[in-house]
């Protein structure tokens, strides 16, 4: 399988995402100005500070030519993973419900966090066990997940709440400790912590690999 990793001016973690994706398949960078997704089977919108995070994190990047193609790709059922700034971009693009607000602690915070897998049957977590804990770093200043109570209830019912911060780990103030959510169709997923920075024991942990591996498995199944 092949991942396409978007690259915006100001992206920071695109090469990390590229390398992480290569643990499970091929991966290639896609320049934000290009509409051609280069035949990717899945898209990663990476972390960083697209357009400097100016105005609102993700607000400007959402309008790029590549994002237009990603929206079409997602609407056609393609797998899209948004990490950190990528999550913000997907929310701004309305591919995911809700929005990300400045951290409740008002500071950029970089910390290894423990996550709990709420849904182990999603296309992004099917390589995990239900309730499994993942140790993955988070680093952001706009990570407080927000959606209206009604939306959150609906999302919960529809199984869209996929990852949450373990007790005591939610430094950004996300509602219901939400760390990662998917869309109703289950093919678009965003999370604030950085699974691409948890793929090597030497640099911290390998728990993030499960996200990429899940995507590979989901794609393989869909092809059978």
């Amino acid at each position: 399988m092949k991942f396409g990793v978007l690259q915006f001016p100001g992206s920071c973690d695109e090469v990390d995402a590229l390398q992480a994706a290569r643990h499970v398949g091929d991966a290639e960078l896609i320049w934000y100005g290009d509409k051609d997704l280069k035949g990717a089977d899945a898209i990663i919108v990476p972390g960083g500070f697209s357009y400097g995070d100016y105005l609102r994190a993700g607000a400007i990047a959402r309008f790029s030519p590549a994002m237009e193609s990603v929206v079409a790709f997602a609407n056609g059922g393609g797998l899209v993973l948004g990490i950190c700034n990528g999550f913000q971009v997907l929310c701004e693009a309305h591919l995911l419900p809700g929005a990300l607000l400045p951290n409740a602690n008002r500071r950029f915070t970089s910390r290894q966090v423990q996550l709990e897998v709420i849904r182990a049957d999603s296309r992004f977590t099917c390589a995990c066990a239900g309730g499994q804990r993942l140790s993955i770093p988070a680093k952001h200043s706009w990570g407080r997940y927000y959606a209206s109570e009604q939306t959150l209830d609906e999302m919960e019912r529809a199984g869209q709440l996929v990852l949450r911060y373990a007790p005591g780990e939610n430094f950004n103030g996300s509602l219901r400790d939400i760390a990662g959510v998917c869309n109703e169709a289950g093919n678009v997923f965003g999370l604030m912590p950085h699974p691409e920075h948890a793929v090597d024991e030497l640099t911290g942990s390998t728990d993030g690999l499960a996200i990429f591996e899940s995507m590979r498995l989901a794609l393989k199944d869909s092809r059978v």
Partner: protein, 78 residues
């Protein structure tokens, strides 16, 4: 060109930690009796067509899910 101002505020009911922090910091500096502090964004710009301001806010300047905005037209632009 017309000079315009857009005031963007956090929607009521959404936690505004920056506003709260300012509210907490004020008494220590000797300013008592301040309340309901909220912090938002101010965008000022010249536009040719003021009709564009509303869609500009909806699409880019504000995120209507979490923010309210108010457009003010000022005098002719600089």
């Amino acid at each position: 060109m017309i000079r315009a101002r857009v005031l963007i505020r956090p929607k009521a009911g959404i936690l505004d930690p920056q506003g709260e922090a300012v509210e907490r910091a004020l008494p220590a500096l000797g300013f008592t009796g301040a309340a309901n502090v909220h912090i938002g964004r101010l965008v000022e710009l010249d536009v040719e067509d003021p009709q564009q301001l509303e869609p500009m806010c909806e699409k880019l300047l504000a995120n209507p899910l979490i923010e309210d905005y108010e457009v003010q037209l000022l005098d002719a632009g600089s």
